[in-house]
Subunit: 327 residues, 2 copies
Amino acid sequence: MRIDKITIGHGSGAGLTRELINSVFASEFKITSLDDSAEIGKNMVISTDAHVISPLFFPGGDIGKLAITGTINDVAMSGAIPKFIVVAFIIEAGFRFSDLKKIVYSMQKEAEAARVQILGGDTKVVEKGKADGIFITTTGIGQFVEKNKLSAKKVRNGDKILVNGNLGDHTIALINLRQKLELSPAPRSDCAALDKLVQLMLENGDVNFLRDATRGGVATILNEIAEETKLGIILDSKKIPVSSIVTSISELLGLDPLYMANEGKLVAFVKDDTKMLISKMKKHELGRNAIEIGEVTDELQGVYLRTEIGGLRPLPILDSDPLPRIC
Amino acid sequence: MRIDKITIGHGSGAGLTRELINSVFASEFKITSLDDSAEIGKNMVISTDAHVISPLFFPGGDIGKLAITGTINDVAMSGAIPKFIVVAFIIEAGFRFSDLKKIVYSMQKEAEAARVQILGGDTKVVEKGKADGIFITTTGIGQFVEKNKLSAKKVRNGDKILVNGNLGDHTIALINLRQKLELSPAPRSDCAALDKLVQLMLENGDVNFLRDATRGGVATILNEIAEETKLGIILDSKKIPVSSIVTSISELLGLDPLYMANEGKLVAFVKDDTKMLISKMKKHELGRNAIEIGEVTDELQGVYLRTEIGGLRPLPILDSDPLPRIC
């Protein structure tokens, strides 16, 4: 069936989003890369993201924190050090000043912690019923030194795949609120700025590529890399780090944490021995559960999970994320 | 009365917007300038704008054209040459693919005409009823040579104030659609990229400062400059360029074109003789009606209109724009 209208799935970060990018944006704008950031001039990168999360406040963060850390992370994944952010607000009439102040306070706090300067921005207000409280678009600029320029093109056969901790925390925190599961204690989002962890990783390991595992989760991101590099990726099911609460809720709802959005997790492609790197990561508060979860191979194409009994289960790209409006 | 909720007026670009900026954004983000763009690193500027115009398509443009030209103009007003743009879309589920394609086509067309590269972006989809068709946030990067860095700080007593043509065209084009006036021929928006006109002006005149006269119109922008510089500005009522249709509709609705949003008009502060500059501007298609409309003075503070009988009528900053969602 030819879909001639935009659906929620087109914003999921998964298959339908890529279809939209390929059929409309990439063809018109002549964009050649699916990277989350783009180079501007010498040694600078830019990245932009619209944030439409619902609800706006959640355990572990709010839309303001998410908007700043999300953009810091997109910039940081290129190997750059985030320096500046500009912000555009779209606010629904009737939105509370006190909530706006909380959000803006969160933004400034995260920016200061990462030594990122918020340079200014724009504010538009739309009539009640024409938005969902507040939408925030953040655009970040980072600077990097040549040797740290990361790219999917650097990914090689034999690269090890690392994550910095448990998957699915952000999604389950949001599901708990949205589905009114009322879990106690309420699961917390992993929303965090990864810039310092990235710099630590670049100093202590032979990192070829980094990507934060947001919309679509680890499985979707790995599919993009597999496609771009024409290589295969095999994950080890025994190594995927997931907390017990996320495991329980996932099983209950029939969801897979490998496809869940995270807001403080990255996937790293690392050359050679990763032991030293992982031990360094474990000393950082955002890398305590860092672990090697798989490997790049040129013996097949696509993304697979090696099951407990040794078989290979495909992890294809899905059409849509199970939960939209999560970031 | 203490307003504790965001109102439509807070997005008008006028007095309430400034109150919002001062009470929430400037205090938290520690922003010291009200400029539409900010410097990043050496000789680069950045500017971001959310576009929420309704209706999305109008005579003379659409939200896509507006988003690109608006950001090109914000960058160009600093004296820089626009180079790169990143785009963040927020799309309401149910939006037509065909409309999205039209919008994206407009964006690419304007970007190409200005030799601006669209580097990429982000797309989010929200449920039906949680947005108004499509919102587009564009962020632009420009590069400039030191001698062309413009700033309100350069404005001096005696500077002449120029505009590049008729005021109010954009607002009246939108009013005609929104109020279903069904004027024939339908008034067209002046939506246009001013980057080339700006470069022509910098080459042919002693320009101290430029600002595009969007939300709030010429009067609001001049008030901001008057406040920042502690100087006075006197406009000559006989010189304000307004088309006959805009004059008629304005009188009918009791609106003042000096407060109307434009999307292809700039205000320039120019030192010394402006004759040569104006004659050059008149040869450019976007400067055909260029005219000197007033002067900066240190003999009073604020913005005034010299009436036909020689009196001075104050042009204060208004609380709110008469027509929101216009850009």
